[in-house]
Amino acid sequence: MVDVLAPETATVRVDGPWTVRLRRLADVSKQVLSNPTTLVGLVIIIALLSLTVLAPVLTEPNFPNPYQMPRDWGVRDAPPGTPGHILGTTSTGGDVFYGVVWGARTSLRLSLIVVGVTVTVGTIVGSLAGFIGGKLDEILMRTVDVLLAIPELIFALAIAAVLGPSFGNIIFALSVVFWVKYARIIRGQIIHVKQNEYVDAARITGDSKLNIYRRDVLPNSVTPVMVQATLDMGGIVLTAATLSFIGLAEAGLVEWGVLVSDGQAGISAGKWWASTFPGLMVFLWALAFNLVGDGMRDVLDPRTEGR
């Protein structure tokens, strides 16, 4: 153990609370970044995020709706390298480069909304089940079990199909499907964390249940959720692309799955670019978040953290 008692001299420099907290954050970040694959993932994420920010600079936004593919019927099926269409065009004259760049925005919007909604809903449901327990836990978790028994993709497909083809409906369908996992994770964590004696110690001080949840239980339960959320930032884009690919998004939307779908007919004719570049983007996006998520899992494992 570190000897903190020994040098009890008068000139001990006492760090303020925020210095200490920030240093801890820095320590954890340094640990996350010390893994080269995580670093690669992070670099890709930063590149993709810059793409979303720089989209209007890189390409002229389509008017009136920038998320609708601009059509240049004059240059259909142009190969990559065509002047003005650096990655070529689709069979309907859409600029592939535009789709790749603005598709990043669509993906970011999608994943942020879905992850935001599902983490919130999942945390609330999981917390109620895990922290309050008893009958409520039974009811909520049996519901979760039923939902988990249906394959995610098919469930999302069914919802989106019923509501009609639109990207908004895809977002809705994914939100309905993905929260269940978080509810399960956070419930398991809370039940585990609740057994710690510091929760008993907090009860001994007479603190309220809500405070105990807020200060002791939740902060020690969230790390696996953070890891899962990072992984899902990638996974959701992949699933959404699948749904768009089979035609559940509106036609002409700037979305990688839609673009892959539009371009696939041309692949056999040797027009590979219209599908490949958006497909590659989906791959990069999912890969990057998976790399970072895995790296976080290694570092944030509560069993090794802080020892």
Binding site: V12, P17, V20, Y198, A201, I204, G206, D207
Partner: protein, 454 residues
Amino acid sequence: MTTVSTERGTRQQSTDDRAVITLRGVEKYFPIKEGALQRVVGQVRAVDGVSFEVRPGETMGLVGESGCGKTTLGRCISGLTPPTGGKIYFRLPDAAAARLDEIDAVPENERTQEQRKEVARIDAEHGITQLSGVGWRTYRRNCQVVFQDSFSSLNPRQLVKDIVGRPLRVYREASGQELTENVVSLLESVGLGRQHLYRYPHQFSGGQRQRISIARALALDPEFIVLDEPTSALDVSVQAQILNLLHELQSERGLTYLFISHDLGVVRLMSDRIAVMYLGKIAEHGTAHELFEDPRHPYTEALLAANPDISAEVSEMKGLSGTVPDPANPPEGCRFHTRCPVATPACGWEVDDAVAWLQTNETLLAGLLDVERRSNFDATLVFSDAAAAGAVDDAIQNGNVPAPMKTALADLSTDETKVHIRFTAVEPVELEDIGGGHLTACLLHTSQGRGIRE
């Protein structure tokens, strides 16, 4: 150190005429659930009828091996889990205790309306499960706990200042700069200092983390602290530091301790009075001196004999045979009789003991088909063939069955494939005062066992 509030209660006044904690027949049973419907199929009797009181300023030691219920009892006393039976009182006046004794002597259905009302009134005023409002807050802040595992008992995401200052914040005793100063003085009183305010628990060694736990327990200036194995996880040189600190704090602040431990040496050093627990019940209870110099229960003697003593010139450590029985199905009579080296025929021999003995033989129970149990003392063992039944009968008659068990056997007969076994039924052994507050639950010393001693 902080402002005196009404909740701090009557501690500054005379404390001679009341106890701090009084237990009366406390039970804690945990249901054993089974199957998809979670049907209750049995009870684990973790604590099974424990009574004692803790007087102001003293240290009461609670000693026993793992699974004896001492930690569960500590959790009941500190209000972390409600007992399933019996009562725990906080600051019960001696007069009220005497009244409860009187009323308890009257059978339940013969009590008058007044007597019932009086019990209800005492329960409402002092019973920790019935307290509410100011009464509850007074109890809550005056009864603190220090846990064994300082890793698990300090929130890893909080800074020391937040951990130690939390009770002050909950009771709105202090905030801002005042809170910080209060925390510093608490840290200083346990041998830490200002430089430790903004550190996380994992930055400390085990002994230092235990100091932080103690500082947190002291924050509200409580009257009573439950110390649940506070030094079991520490090295002996650090244990000595913590034990010295606990003693120092006790004499400075007039604290009352319940000291729970499995370590006899530590309990002896720290306690004025000691209760020895075995399988949910108190086996013996007396002053530290009485228990160590003149033990009156074979279990206490066994613990002492097994305890290695570094200062002894020649020592012979002696262990106990067998294992601790299942608390879901505790032995009849005296719970220790299955392992007791001096057990008598009246100690509660029962069918399970006979079966346990037969099990030590490889072949005897091979042909056992069924056990028809009429009571714990009376059963029929059904075997597949008459030869097997005969062998069992013969083994019990002529084998090296423990002598007291053989004597306790009231009936052993074989009828074809069936072996009837019946033992003399006995009452549970009660804890009894054998003079000067020295209590034991051993028939060799109590009036209950007078008959068998002669």
